[in-house]
């Protein structure tokens, strides 16, 4: 095969095309962020922009963990609390992302830049795996739309900055993809790292386990219930036990708590305290709080509370859409489990961002987009909201 044909063959690979477009989209997001920043600060510089980014949201905390790791009760921090967060309280943040920041930081030098490199590379790979996953069941067009909607989600700009979003999304998609294709070792190992990235990572175990069960179930055709039980356990691949690595990842996080503080669940106590005030609560009560906060804080209503409330309804509405379009049950279970896990928090203020990682909702959305009106309407609405919230984020509004 000559060089020209090799290039053509390479470019004909759907995954390569998705990778290229995803990479371009990351460049576009970064350029847009600079544009928005220079609208706000006409005399600013790129260095000042990076400096400003390193002070926003949870970024300082990730940088502290990447620099100095976690600390136990006996540690005396020479720097003191940063934004009411002591060195000990940093244990509420999971270790995977700061670890990668540090690793890449050895090469790059600057932790903020290394965090952004990790995020953007993970975002690109996430696009490829979203495409590959949806492509298992649907057309190239539907798979492309799922990727488009993921990148147009109103808070998707967080995927380009120093947050856990891209890493978690990439690991989640890879985990589900390998579960779908029966590669249980890869699923388990990747899910292990997913569980070490965010609390919601442990939800992946439910998805993977269900796939393990249902793929086996579909391979047998028993005549009686008793025969079915025997055939099921005979056919169940032992390699599926690798999925237990996913809760094991969560176990590692709990072990970190135990080693540092002698308490498996010390992170829960810190989450309850300032500045997070997070516990678990009855979801309708939590939603009620969102609406009351929206009414009492008009300036934050359309930034934090209303988007959170709306996304809860949208997620469950998309389950019904998924049932109508016969979307794979494990995907719909992921939507339900992830949404419930996220909305159990009593003082949720990052719901809009968290729901970006409710990845399987982009599948029924992509199926809706097979209708032209839905496609144009959704693309337009999501683009407008994405630009709006992106602009407000760069302007320093309380989008976190």
């Amino acid at each position: 095969m000559n060089f020209k044909n090799k290039v053509k063959s390479f470019w004909d690979n759907e995954a390569v095309r998705v990778l290229a477009v995803a990479a371009l989209s990351r460049v576009a997001v970064l350029l847009l962020s600079l544009l928005f920043y220079f609208i706000k600060e006409p005399d600013g510089s790129i260095g000042q922009f990076i400096e400003w980014l390193s002070q926003t949201g949870d970024v300082p905390h990730y940088m502290r963990i990447a620099t100095g790791g976690y600390h136990g009760d006996s540690f005396v921090d020479p720097v003191g609390p940063v934004g009411n967060v002591t060195a000990q309280m940093l244990v509420v943040f999971y270790p995977m992302f700061p670890m990668l920041m540090k690793l890449v930081g050895f090469v790059v030098g600057d932790l903020m830049i290394s965090g952004m490199i990790v995020s953007n590379i993970c975002a690109i790979l996430a696009a490829v795996y979203m495409y590959k996953l949806v492509r298992l069941d649907y057309s190239a067009k539907t798979a492309s739309m799922a990727v488009v909607f993921m990148f147009l989600y109103p808070f998707s700009f967080f995927m380009s900055f120093c947050y856990t979003e891209s890493l978690f999304i990439m690991l989640s998609l890879m985990c589900i993809y390998y579960a779908r294709t029966g590669k249980w070792a890869a699923c388990g190992i990747i899910g292990f790292f997913g569980a070490l990235t965010r609390t919601q990572g442990v939800v992946l175990f439910g998805v993977a386990a269900y796939e393990w069960v249902i793929q086996t179930r579909r391979s047998i055709n028993p005549k009686t219930f008793g025969q079915g039980i025997k055939d099921f356990f005979k056919a169940l691949p032992l390699s599926g036990l690798f999925t237990l690595l996913i809760p094991a990842g969560y176990g590692v996080y709990l072990t970190i708590n135990k080693v540092l503080f002698g308490d498996w669940f010390r992170f829960l106590e810190y989450q309850k305290a300032a500045p997070w005030y997070q516990t678990s609560g009855f979801i309708p009560d939590n939603l009620n709080q969102h609406l009351n906060m929206a009414a009492n804080n008009p300036g934050l209503s359309f930034i934090i509370y209303l988007p959170q409330f709306i996304m809860f309804i949208v997620a469950f509405a998309l389950i019904f859409v998924g049932v109508k379009y016969k979307v794979r049950t494990s995907y719909l279970l992921h939507i339900a489990a992830y949404t419930v896990a996220s909305y159990l928090s009593t003082w949720l203020i990052s719901g809009g961002r968290y729901m970006l990682s409710c990845l399987m909702m982009f599948v029924p959305l992509a199926l809706l987009a097979r209708n032209k009106i839905w496609r144009y309407g959704l693309i337009g609405l999501m683009s407008a909201l994405n630009l709006f919230y992106f602009y407000l984020y760069i302007r320093g509004y309380a989008i976190m």
């Binding site: 309708p284 939603l287 109508k324 016969k326 683009s383």
Partner: protein, 241 residues
């Protein structure tokens, strides 16, 4: 009903909605695991629908896009500014000019009238060039202004009638439409930029529709959607600068 009661009802309804979805999923899980079928949900939800755009596009599209633009305007008005408006500052329409705030009942009724005028214009454009024309009409760059209690949607409707008359070579109707358009908004304090953009966009619709049949379809689709919602974005940006 006070705000707290409303919040309780809405959050309770959302919770109930999620419970129904979860129960449905559990039912499907049981069917798949024990009976190896998907729960026969097509008996409730029906078969997959066709992906063709419906014949009701020229009516549904303006209601949807206009409704979204109106909701965004109301959110902006409620949370960021409480500006007043006058429906028409000049021309024949100034005879029935009404002043008020954007979130008053009177204003919302007039906004709904604007959306109805938008829908009429969409139906006329559909008669001229089919669903492509009506879709592009509903994604106008001045959409956000066309749903407010101003004369934008009325001018756009008169333009649509004039364009139809031009296509049908009904020159008398065309002349009446031109005179009506001028009378409705004879400029007193200058021609507004929003109106200029709206009319230029309307004039470009036939070209955009033609390009949609070529390899530049992606360009016209993107442009139309970006135009349609740019105006919302610019309205919101304006409030924050």
């Amino acid at each position: 009903m006070d705000q707290e009661t409303t919040a309780k009802i809405l959050s309770g309804a959302a919770g109930l909605f999620s419970v129904v979805a979860i129960l449905l999923l559990l039912y499907i899980v049981v069917c798949e695991v024990f009976f190896n079928h998907g729960g026969h949900t097509e008996k409730v939800f029906g078969k997959k629908e066709s992906s063709k755009a419906g014949k009701h596009t020229p009516v549904i599209m303006p209601i949807v896009t206009g409704g979204v633009a109106l909701i965004v305007n109301l959110i902006v008005a409620n949370t960021m500014y409480t500006g007043t408006y006058i429906t028409a500052k000049s021309g024949a329409m100034s005879l029935i000019a009404v002043e008020g705030t954007l979130t008053s009942v009177k204003s919302i009724i007039l906004c709904i009238v604007s959306i109805l005028l938008l829908t009429l214009g969409s139906v006329i454009f559909d008669k001229i060039g089919g669903p492509k024309y009506s879709t592009l009409y509903c994604l106008n760059i001045a959409l956000s202004l066309m749903v407010l209690p101003y004369t934008y949607s009325l001018i756009a409707l008169i333009f649509a009638v004039g364009f139809w008359a031009f296509k049908k070579k009904e020159y008398l109707s065309l002349a009446i439409a031109v005179v009506a358009g001028i009378a409705v908004h004879f400029p007193v304090d200058g021609f507004h930029l929003g109106e200029a953009f709206m009319l230029i966009y309307l004039l470009l619709i036939p070209l955009m529709a033609k390009l949609d049949n070529t390899k530049f379809r992606w360009l016209t689709t993107t442009l139309a959607i970006a135009c349609g919602f740019f105006t919302i974005f610019s309205q919101l940006i304006y409030r924050f600068i």
